[in-house]
């Protein structure tokens, strides 16, 4: 799986170089949310890297795990030290493509529904995912939004039995990025 991920990265990088119609942000916003009767967990990361090649429909997200800010300091500590092990696995990545890229006119203002697929890597575990998203094209750039669900157990994130009632296994992930054309 790791080899596949490296191969995907190389393909993406080559595609980005070849076509050069890149849109980029380094201040993307990703947040996650989960709720049980005992605990609500929410954390925001506003320093998300995202790049999109509009010609090929390939895109990449890179998320620094320590940049997730929680309301409670203790939750943030446990998240980094015990659950996602941020020192060992500092970044989460998504490398993928828009499956229906031909249906999206990136040069024409409008809102477009997209089907995306790719490899999501969290906590060192890579999984193929298929999700839906929305692209909003305007004269200011391209906004991309998505909401999807992940199961912690699928990424080898163990919840100790003592707090299993308080922490849900499923987390809602919200993605909201404003991409600007990269001018060199």
């Amino acid at each position: 799986m790791k080899r596949l991920s490296v191969l995907m990265s190389l393909i993406i990088l080559l595609a980005f170089n070849a076509f050069g119609q890149r849109y980029l942000t380094k201040t993307g916003h990703i947040y996650f949310y989960s709720k049980t009767p005992f605990e609500t967990i929410e954390a925001h990361n506003r320093q998300v890297n995202c790049a999109l090649d509009v010609k090929s429909g390939m895109f990449v997200f890179k998320v620094l795990m320590r940049s997730f800010i929680f309301e409670k300091a203790l939750m943030q500590e446990h998240f980094n030290e015990d659950y996602v092990e941020s020192d060992k696995f500092p970044n989460a990545t998504f490398i993928g493509k828009i499956d229906n890229v031909k249906e999206i006119a990136f040069n024409k203002a409008g809102t477009y529904n997209a089907k995306v697929s790719g490899t999501l890597t969290i906590h060192g575990v890579s999984r193929t995912v298929h999700e839906n998203g929305t692209f909003i094209v305007s004269d200011k750039g391209i906004a991309a939004q998505s909401k999807f669900l992940i199961k912690l157990s699928e990424y080898n994130i163990d919840i100790p039995e003592i707090v299993a009632r308080e922490i849900a296994n499923e987390f809602n992930i919200f993605v909201d990025v404003d991409l600007k054309s990269l001018k060199k």
Partner: protein
């Protein structure tokens, strides 16, 4: 009759002692729960504005150390100085950006997310002068080293 009276007296005394012990136990329990609630479960985030830096160095060497994987400062309070290239702002944050390299995705360097109280001073920074900034190091994301909850020292 006399021994019955003594037994009653003893029972009363025992009850008094038991009540006192129970009272003390309850007070300790309440104080313990309050301590855990306020200082463990809901303990405040570290005040990075007042935190003493673990590492002090120039923005350039900080970036070089990270990009070349020489040194990691993840989770530490880092104080850097240098001349910023730009200040990026949006509705929710201000980021002071030091640029030292160019990559496939544009500028690469050190990105400092400012604490809300330093937003205005960050926006008014003179981009021709050296600035000293302190924040906690979130790590390197492959293009930039990220400092969070930053404050301007001078």
């Amino acid at each position: 009759m006399g021994s019955f009276g003594n037994a009653q007296q003893l029972k009363k005394t025992m009850m008094k002692i038991l009540k006192k012990i129970l009272g003390i136990f309850m007070i300790i329990s309440v104080l313990g729960i309050a301590y855990v609630w306020f200082f463990v479960y809901n303990k405040p985030h570290r005040n990075f504005d007042k935190a003493k830096p673990d590492v002090i160095l120039s923005a350039q060497s900080f970036y070089n150390n990270y990009a070349k994987k020489i040194k990691s400062c993840n989770g530490k309070v880092v104080q850097i100085n240098g001349i910023p290239k730009k200040i990026e702002t949006n509705d929710s944050l201000a980021v002071v950006v030091f640029v030292f390299d160019q990559g496939m995705f544009g500028d690469e360097g050190v990105r400092c997310t400012m604490l809300p109280k330093y937003r205005n001073s960050a926006e008014n920074l003179d981009l021709s002068k050296t600035v000293t900034i302190k924040g906690f190091c979130a790590g390197y994301n492959g293009t930039d080293v990220i400092l969070e909850q930053c404050s301007i020292i001078k």
